[in-house]
Amino acid sequence: MIRVILRRIPMALLVALTVSILGFALLRLSGDLVRELAGDTAGPEQLAQVARAYGLDKPLPIQYLNWLWDLLRGDFGTSLFTGEAVSSLIATRAGPTIILALASLVVAVVIGVPLGVLAAANPNTLTDRVIAVVAVFGQAVPNFWFGLVMLVIFAVKLKWLPVAGDDTAAHFVLPVITLALSIMPQFVRVTRSGVLDAMGADYIRTARSKGIPARRLFMRHALRNAILPVVSLSAVTLGFLLGGSVIVESVFSINGLGLLAYSSILSNDFPVVQAIVVIVSIVYVFLTLLSDVVNAWIDPRLRG
């Protein structure tokens, strides 16, 4: 197990480092930070002063190293607009996004995996086709639109659920359904093909010829094989949701990381955007590493 982690760590570190460089460069090159800080009316004198005060007169590589050093000590800088520490800004806004992401993932797995198994158990039947249609719909529907339509039906017309916000569990029902619908199709596909692959494999044929009951064969052997890609997909999806919930957050007015990133992008609040991009990337790298470890734990063949 430890060997798996050790083997994957260099790449993970390299990727995390590259992401931090890209995140830094991307936002530094896309606007004039000094002018942003000093304001439009500042003269050359003031600009130079501001640049010196923030260390922005130094060459970019030095600026990057300073930023990285601060980052490693947990200092993400301060917001250009509210003056708040970026770390505390992110800490207060991460909650709703994490709840949203985890809940959507759980719903998508709990519905998607059984549907995939059901489809694989009845390949090319009506059941399989209906499930495929649901998957295509979930994949194709623009989730901001689906969210709005549900909002009108269930919150405005039927008044079953609240319209906007993130105060109670009820507020999360529609956003979670919306996000879960859009990520579920992949779980259906991955499970279906994982189970079908396993059912065609030699070890299943051997087990069947030894007279192991079909039900046990399915549950013990085929399903176990299909779990591996589901674990990997869960990690990837969770990482994606943490950085990709901006649309759903904006439709349902959930004050999470997505909306924070969005409003910071609109107001050119570089330090906040930078920090969110880098943190989400590093969490993604960590999650994929974790999923490899979990898979090695499930399947001894991967430990080699």
Binding site: L26, W145, G244
Partner: protein, 299 residues
Amino acid sequence: MTMTNPSDRAGNPTLSPRQLMVMRAVGHKGFIIGAVVTALYVLMAVAAPLIAPFDPLDQNLLAKLAPPVWQDGGSWQHPLGTDSLGRDYLSRLIFGARISIMIGFFAALVSAIVGTSIGLLGGYFGGRVDALVMYIVNVKLAMPGLLVALALVSAFGSSFVTLVIILSLLFWDRYAIVVRTLTQQFRNQDFVLAARAAGASTTRILFRELLPNLMNAVIVVLTLEMALAIVIEAALSFLGLGVRPPNPSWGLMISEGRQYMFFRPHLVIAPGIAILGLVIAINVLGDGFRDIAAPEDRR
């Protein structure tokens, strides 16, 4: 050709692989439906000035938010009513197909060229080149694509070309992974070894021997990514960081219709259905193409 299916061959010994593909296409219901619906959308986009009853940008402030034909006070003059600036909604919906299809197609195409090249190099050369390719792919996967795209659009603007380039940054990785895997499988097959033994240059092997055999897989990915790109363009426009007003993008129309959706719900519902129809059609077309091109993968 390595893709031919022996059982088809046995039944029709005189048919070329291409003829076989056409025969399978005609018999594949999903492919036909997907192709016909996609073609109708393309036709609508191309012929938009001919079919649209009005200019999609023509405002008429005296006829703001006219109801659609099925509501009280609606008329056939504006079958879907007008928007908050009195523009004919049906015309805007028709012209919206142009933006969706153009941006979706070019984003998928540019990312196909980038991703296929990267995957081809990694798969064929292996070793250090492949390690570099996997490293680039891993970095791409780790970045929150949507946030980066939003930040880039906000910094560099959203002209057609910048939007296409920024969207292509989001979609090249799947081509790279698919092409790399296939190239690794093909690299040591007879047709490549034969070409190498005959003294073919590396460029020739990559582009004349390997690429044609990868084309079907690339086209399948292209359809799926084009569908995704259309949804993402709509999402960016919905968030106000995509196509700019007054251009009729379906995502932008949903965002503009949002504040009236309680008494004019069709302002939100109609563009959504337009996106949904196109994206489903392209997806079904792509799935069908995969069945036709490589029936041995079919389950």
